[in-house]
Symmetry: C2
Amino acid sequence: MGKSRILIIGATGYIGRQVAKASAALGHPTLILVRETTASNPEKAQLLESFKSSGITIVHGSLEDHASLVEAIKKVDVVISTVGGAQIADQLNIIKAIKEVGTIKRFLPTEFGNDVDKTSAVEPAKGLFALKVKIRRAIEAEGIPYTYVSSNCFAGYFLPNLGQPGLTAPPRDKIVIFGDGNAKAVFVKEEDIGTFTIKSVDDPRTLNKTLYLRLPANTFSFNELVALWEKKIGKTLEKVYVPEEQVLKTIAETPFPGNIIISIAHSIFVKGDQTNFEIGDNGVEGSELYPDVKYTTVDEYLNQFV
Amino acid sequence: MGKSRILIIGATGYIGRQVAKASAALGHPTLILVRETTASNPEKAQLLESFKSSGITIVHGSLEDHASLVEAIKKVDVVISTVGGAQIADQLNIIKAIKEVGTIKRFLPTEFGNDVDKTSAVEPAKGLFALKVKIRRAIEAEGIPYTYVSSNCFAGYFLPNLGQPGLTAPPRDKIVIFGDGNAKAVFVKEEDIGTFTIKSVDDPRTLNKTLYLRLPANTFSFNELVALWEKKIGKTLEKVYVPEEQVLKTIAETPFPGNIIISIAHSIFVKGDQTNFEIGDNGVEGSELYPDVKYTTVDEYLNQFV
């Protein structure tokens, strides 16, 4: 049995590029659907070139062009969507095309965050997560085989500044912490999210399940994260704790899309939504399924900033 | 002729609260549609109380509850939507309900930013703006009387930190500027956006037009803004200019929703999308229509931080 052929929709995005790289690296025939096969800006042109040199096939199309979707989906066994937050609802078009083609063995909708079925998020994160829930229910209603990847925090987003906006390295004097700092979150390097995602696509154990990345070495409360950093730099930081009521006020007083960032942080760091539930029968854990994946630990990740 | 009765959908949000306050202050019978009439958090409870004491009527409902929308819309002459970025597409439900009721004299969909029909934004702002365009075309196709409010930059978002993430006051040593700093943008205080918006709803001059807030005293290039600040503090800042290519790279390497913020900033500060076109026959300018509105100038706004 060969490796399944994979189509990635949203491959030039932040997490999509890692999934595409992992797909090619793990030997899957890989197609990506892009709006512009000839990029108008140098950064994107360079990315498309690197995809091509990895053996990735670039096909032209978009979520709004049904024929392009159907044509691309006909060429593969597995569809992975990594579209951004503004396109979550548009994935109904992918579901329609998958249904029409009828041969797709697995669909991974865009997820790559908290488990949206288990959340205590407030608006606007709540509404955004509800869109992902809607897509999940549509997939299930159509009987399309799926895997939902709940990969929790992007390491590259939270660790380089320890969640302090505007910084490009972790702080060395003062740190602002939402809530009491005791809720545990999971920080996963983007390359590793790509690898775990691709590992799951041909795995019968992840069929119609949620794949959680609750990596033991990367599960930290904010207080533990700060303690680890303090140990590395040999210095104690001043800690400013922001009570939940103040966090909610800040969300209400911040316009879109900044309010999304803060409400997601509230869900993760105040409510503990990445770890405040047991993985039940509908879920599996990535590091348990794939103990061979040598993921980057938070400890290793922070060393680059010392 | 009395003042029209106004329904605001999204009144607890960042700009919606200002529109609701202005509606009540300018003497319009004002209704707001909220999901939870009894707020679960203190900040929201306080806001609802202040609405009530301004004479605003709070009705229960949501975009997902068609009957609640129809019932609320039947009670008013004008509907203003100030829903957040995650709910732009859901405004199709408002359009459907307005069509069903058949008596609405003016609909203002959620806009309150750049003119989305005149944009050179890149993704993901491009896709977000396209959703607003879709709503505009749906309104026009249904023949619903409208006004689109293009209010440009929220002052409260850009001025307190002069666009520097993580700061709570304008910088006094160094400032990062996108592009060459010469594109002109417009900064409008949120309270003033509320006032101009409400002024327009019964005005025949704004019927089926875009109302632009291109306030002369508040139209500044980033370089001019920095020069004004430097003059106020009597100090010259170190300026770090970020070329467009680097801005595009940062957008591509930032996950949702941070990439939205940066791509909007690119559209405004690199491309000059708030001022790089003439207001044509389909548009009117707020300060020309309502010279009596004493809006807060950028100069006055910055004084609080000196």
